[in-house]
């Protein structure tokens, strides 16, 4: 139709009625990318715990800390905000930058563990969580931070199905910081399925 109309238009003159306006700049064809959709439920059936992302990375910096540690904390905090805003890719970028600035700062490893947990990559999350625990335990960090590192490790273990180890990690978090509520809540969640499991026996 368009061809006929344009030909006729040329022969009789150019009328004003222009109906089709395709873009001259064709958008690039989306590439065929095979990506697994992010599952909302852990493949191991463990309920995904809520994200913690404690907002005190910057606040936890001790006076006299090295400038690189401060910068790593700032970048981690920026990543935390991005995570909360759903910008995981950008957050990962900032966390990598934080590690580049100070590889001994525990904050970026904590948040990387959190990101990977959200993506149901618990095995990798556990690697980052252990690193966060190890670095936070070297001294100079507030107990809240150390406790949260244990909690993220526990979450990774729970997602991997290792309930006993996860429980130990949460208990450790409470031992380090008795005021750590997420650890208590996580232990509660771990116990709930067991109670359910126990019901048939009770019935017998």
């Amino acid at each position: 139709m368009a061809l006929t109309a344009s030909t006729a238009a040329f022969i009789v003159g150019c009328p004003e009625g222009r109906t089709r306006r395709p873009s001259l700049i064709a958008p690039p064809t989306p590439p065929p990318i095979a990506r697994a959709p992010a599952p909302t439920i852990s493949p191991r059936g463990v309920e995904r715990p809520p994200s913690l992302v404690p907002p005190f990375a910057v606040a936890s910096i001790a006076q006299g800390s090295s400038p690189t540690l401060v910068t790593a904390a700032q970048l981690s905090d920026q990543a935390r905000r991005e995570l909360e805003g759903g910008e995981a890719a950008r957050a990962i970028e900032h966390l990598e930058q934080a590690i580049q600035v100070d590889a001994n700062a525990p904050y970026p490893f904590y948040y990387l563990a959190d990101v990977y947990l959200r993506r149901d990559r618990a095995g990798e999350a556990l690697v980052f969580a252990k690193r966060a625990v190890e670095l936070a335990s070297r001294g100079g960090y507030p107990i809240e931070w150390i406790a949260h590192s244990h909690v993220v490790r526990g979450r990774a273990l729970a997602q991997l199905g290792d309930r006993d180890e996860a429980r130990q990690a949460f208990l450790l978090a409470i031992e380090v910081d008795p005021a750590n509520l997420p650890a208590r809540a996580a232990i509660q969640r771990l116990q709930e399925p067991r109670q359910n499991d126990a019901r048939p026996n009770d019935a017998r």
């Binding site: 873009s23 700049i25 590439p31 590889a103």
Partner: protein, 755 residues
């Protein structure tokens, strides 16, 4: 007569009909061509490969990290006043003021910002956003362009939408090129008549082409100036106008117009042109700059401001005058604009060359996207490369090979044959920060850093020690760096065969600590250790650390008799440097569409390969290699940072290696011949100098870091001769790392004894 008239009329009618049919068919063909071209996308937009953005933060030394060189490559302009425009900077006695450009990022572009960087002795102490007064902890210099995929087109183009172009710029173009653009139908009879009159009366030669005609000429026709080209040009212009709106045509024109030449690269479109001439986006151009670009359109090379600034000034002023005449600008604006000097950025700033790396990235990307898409769709490929580290890598490799050839005349005889590869990785992220796959990409595109399969020799030995420390943790007497090994001639019997490892120069030290065995790269002691541990754990450890192939279950594996690539060796050492965590090496960080949308991100893939305690034990020993072992040449060449590493030499010196790391950077260097001819040099002689020069320069200006032991280790002072806790009379002691509970309890009896 009547019959003749009838015949004539019939013939004329038939001819007219035939002509109409032919014209109709021809116009249909033109229409199809126009619609097909535009619906497919009229241009190939090559994908671009970028380096990693450079991070500026406290404790970075600006000069040593090549900050100003980077600015020059990014075409920042040094000014003497407070920077007022993006891409300007001013040096101060104790700092820099810089107006950083923003750059695209998925969903959230990095914004431009004005920054004041305070320094003490060239080292950053504080950064402040000078508009808001906020403290800035980290700032990013935009990533440098490394290469384009599909550069064979010799065109660069980035599309802008009409909305991104300031109306004043559009006015300049319309005023100069086609004043009745919005009122004609693709062809402007008044313009043609004016051009004919001017040309016939001997006045200044004029073109009567409308913007639409120029567009279709560039897209569909040859540049010849002939009447036979003008006819299809006019038809195509009308057909295009029928099909597309004026704004769409104008937008296409702004992206198509030819505006100059950068060597063999044609500059098309105003985005490319404004970056080429002014290093700015079109919406950042001043009125004078926009007028200058507009003035270039008729003959970009003739009026090039780089080569002919005076001619450029004349055409700029002509455009400004025309704008003032039609009332697009005021007389005051005209006066101010014409008084501006012609200032452009230098035409060609040499990019950092990373051909092996960009080809590696291209191959990785081709595995994800069809090659045709990479060549046409204008993806932005953000990589992990550090442009300055890459520049250093290329330079030290060239220099290192030349020095080898000067020092060893026999090698000099096979001058071009001597090859080398260097690969550097950031251990905590797996980011490949530098890659050189050979001495000349022009002569050989074989990427030795990735594709070569060479025996690693002693560079493999740390894997044996890692496996030994890790596996023996549950043994009654675990192996530690202080465990005494037997370095005497030894036979390993397997599969009815016998293997006899020999030490270098057939020299044996007898009882020797595990630490010293690795520091001095003793074959016999290492092979004995491997026999105790077994090949299974060694192979498993190697695979977990990053060796990506089947490993032979042969005793000679313990001394590196397996073929691997430098990249794999770098992976292994990065895993050690990263506390036992293996991260897949990455070159591609993310891919964006031309609109800045994230197509794909490549976050690191990690796994625990060995325990952090074991990784540190070996790191601690490898530090000894550099302090007093086979790698001490690094210290002799002035490298003072905390570092660990290992030399490697294969039979007859066919392969010379050095693999080593600081807490933040791993680098592996291989030197040899492609054909496997013996080089006759050790790793310490051939590879270590290159590695040292690279690490010195690539680490310069960054905060010094140390290797920190994990919490499960304890440091104990021991007597290295006995491996026992040092006593007060021991002549020499060292601080050795032990897993908690495995440290020696008993004191040294030899030196503490009176007898």
């Amino acid at each position: 007569m009547r019959r003749s008239f009838k015949i004539l009329a019939a013939t004329a009618a038939t001819a007219s009909l035939a002509g109409a049919v032919w014209t109709h068919s021809w116009v249909q063909t033109l229409d199809k061509r126009v619609s097909q071209t535009f619906s497919d996308g009229p241009w190939d937009l090559p994908s671009r490969i970028y380096a990693s953005p450079f991070l500026v933060h406290d404790e970075i030394a600006l000069e040593e990290t090549s900050f100003f060189e980077r600015l020059a490559r990014l075409r920042y302009r040094e000014v003497q006043h407070l920077p007022t425009r993006r891409g300007e900077f001013r040096r101060l006695t104790n700092g820099v003021e810089i107006f950083l450009r923003g750059f695209p990022y998925p969903r959230k572009p990095v914004p431009h910002r004005r920054l004041r960087i305070d320094t003490v002795d060239g080292t950053v102490t504080r950064m402040v956003d000078w508009q808001s007064g906020d403290r800035v902890y980290v700032a990013e210099l935009e990533p440098e362009l490394l290469a384009s995929v599909g550069e064979a087109h010799w065109q660069q183009r980035r599309l802008v939408s009409l909305a991104e172009v300031p109306p004043r710029f559009v006015n300049a173009i319309l005023t100069s090129e086609d004043r009745r653009f919005y009122s004609h139908y693709g062809v402007d009879p008044r313009g043609i008549a004016r051009a004919i009159v001017a040309n016939l009366t001997g006045g200044k030669r004029q073109g009567g082409s409308t913007i639409t005609q120029q567009l279709v000429k560039n897209l569909f026709l040859t540049p010849e100036r002939a009447i036979r080209r003008k006819i299809p040009e006019a038809f195509l212009a009308v057909v295009t106008e029928r099909r597309y709106s004026k704004n769409q045509i104008l937008e296409a024109y702004l992206n198509e117009v030819y505006l100059g030449q950068d060597g063999r690269r044609a500059i098309h479109g105003i985005w490319e042109a404004s970056h080429f001439y002014f290093a700015r986006a079109p919406n950042e151009l001043s009125l004078a700059e926009a007028a200058l670009l507009t003035g270039l359109i008729p003959a970009p090379n003739k009026y090039s401001p780089h080569r002919h600034p005076e001619r450029a000034r004349k055409v700029r002023d002509r455009v400004l005058r025309q704008m003032a005449e039609v009332g697009s600008i005021t007389q005051g604006e005209f006066a101010r604009a014409v008084s501006e000097p012609i200032e452009t950025t230098p035409p060609r700033i040499e990019r950092v060359r990373a051909p092996y790396f960009t080809e590696y990235v291209r191959r990785r990307a081709s595995a994800l996207y069809p090659t045709i898409d990479l060549k046409r769709n204008g993806y932005e490929l953000f990589t992990t490369l550090d442009s300055s580290a890459q520049k250093v890598a290329a330079a030290v490799l060239q220099n290192g090979l030349e020095q080898i050839q000067q020092r060893y005349p026999k090698i000099g005889e096979r001058k071009d044959d001597l090859q080398a590869a260097l690969i550097a990785i950031h251990p905590q992220s797996g980011a490949i920060v530098a890659m050189v796959g050979g001495r000349s990409y022009g002569k050989s595109q074989f990427n030795r850093a990735v594709q070569a399969r060479r025996q690693p020799g002693s560079v493999f030995k740390p894997i044996v020690f890692l496996a030994a420390f890790e596996k023996s943790r549950t043994w009654p007497t675990p192996i530690t760096p202080a465990t005494m090994l037997d370095d005497t001639p030894f036979e390993w019997h397997y599969d009815r065969r016998t293997w006899r490892p020999q030490n270098y120069a057939d020299t044996y030290l007898g009882p020797v600590s595990a630490r010293r065995a690795l520091e001095l790269s003793l074959n016999s002691a290492t092979a004995r250790l491997a026999a105790d541990v077994g090949l299974g754990p060694i192979r498993a450890t190697a695979l977990a650390l990053g060796i990506d192939r089947e490993l032979p279950a042969l005793p000679s594996l313990s001394l590196g008799a397996v073929e691997v690539s430098p990249l794999e060796v770098a992976e292994v050492y990065a895993s050690i440097a990263n506390g036992g965590v293996h991260i897949d090496p990455r070159a591609l960080r993310k891919v964006l569409s031309p609109n800045g949308e994230l197509i794909e991100a490549h976050p690191p893939t990690v796994s625990r390969a060995i325990s952090p305690e074991t990784a540190f034990l070996v790191t601690h020993i490898l530090q000894g290699v550099i302090e007093s072992g086979t790698g001490r040449g690094a210290r002799e060449r002035g490298f003072v940072a905390a570092a660990a590493g290992k030399t490697g030499t294969t039979n007859d010196g066919r392969d010379a290696w050095f693999a080593g790391f600081t807490p933040n950077l791993v680098a592996v260097v291989w030197v040899g011949y492609d054909d496997g001819e013996p080089l006759g040099l050790t790793g310490a002689q051939a590879a270590l100098p290159i590695w040292t020069d690279f690490m010195k320069q690539a680490s310069a200006g960054r905060p010094a870091t140390k290797f920190s032991p994990p919490s499960g280790l304890t440091m104990v002072e021991i007597d290295p001769a006995t491996g026992r806790r040092a006593g007060s009379r021991c002549p020499r002691t060292i601080l050795e790392a032990f897993p908690v509970g495995q440290e020696p309890i008993a004191p040294c009896e030899i030196h503490d004894s009176w007898f």
